[in-house]
Amino acid sequence: MSESTEFSRLQLRFLQVWHLAAMYDCIYILEFYCMDQFDHDRLTLLTDEERARVAEAAEADIYDEAIAQGYQPARTSHGVDPNGYLC
């Protein structure tokens, strides 16, 4: 990840999924998806684009479970923002 204090869209996508996985104690799921795509589980070694791909693959798995456990995505004028807890 770059050292800039502002996150890119790709970085945010991963961070939001990672944050939710951490909240619901399922980081291992992200590592499984990382292993499935890149043959290792070291998320920190991935580029921003690669991390975003992992997030894209894992997010339905993680969001569905979080919602089942009571997580409520924020609603915006554009509809449901699944990552609303960061907004």
Binding site: D25, C26, Y28, I29, E31, F32, M35, E65
Partner: protein, 192 residues
Amino acid sequence: MDTFVEKLPLSHIESGLAGEDARYLYSYWRRNNGIIEQDSGLTEISKRLMLFRPKLVLDDVPPSTLIGKDTTFRKYFPARNEAAEFPQAYRRKIAHGYHAALENEPWFDVQKTGSLMGEGTPDLILERLILKFRTSGGFERLFCLMTLVEDTSRSRLSDPTHHHDRFQPGRDCYQSGLVHLPATAQHSHVTW
């Protein structure tokens, strides 16, 4: 080409008969009482696992989430996205193992996919270990390790005139089957 599913004793796993992946997975599950934490060994095995939501679906398999790239499912059915795409009769036949695992019963069986899998599909003999894991935060998944024992389509064992008495359902059929399997066919560890 008869489909069957036969429960197997868990002692097969502990003794290593079901392969190293199954032994590691089951041992981890027992040692941690089904609680999963980050573990490099499990993550390595994950490429050979199918994960399912902990949802009881009557006479059916639960919805799958992650299907590892090195699973037999991916190898044999690259165009399919999930187990729910198999014929309903086949899914009904194999559903009980998932239901048992949902009740925290470790489930280990052998199955012959047979004709219920549908026309034009391979006839496979598979071992299946299903365990329910949860994190301390309550995130639950069913882990299914499916190991290919034999592709009988290739070995012509699906022809009823060949090896007629192998893999008959009932009375410890699988053990007797294993005895006759060539060494190379025992646990080739292609997992689905």
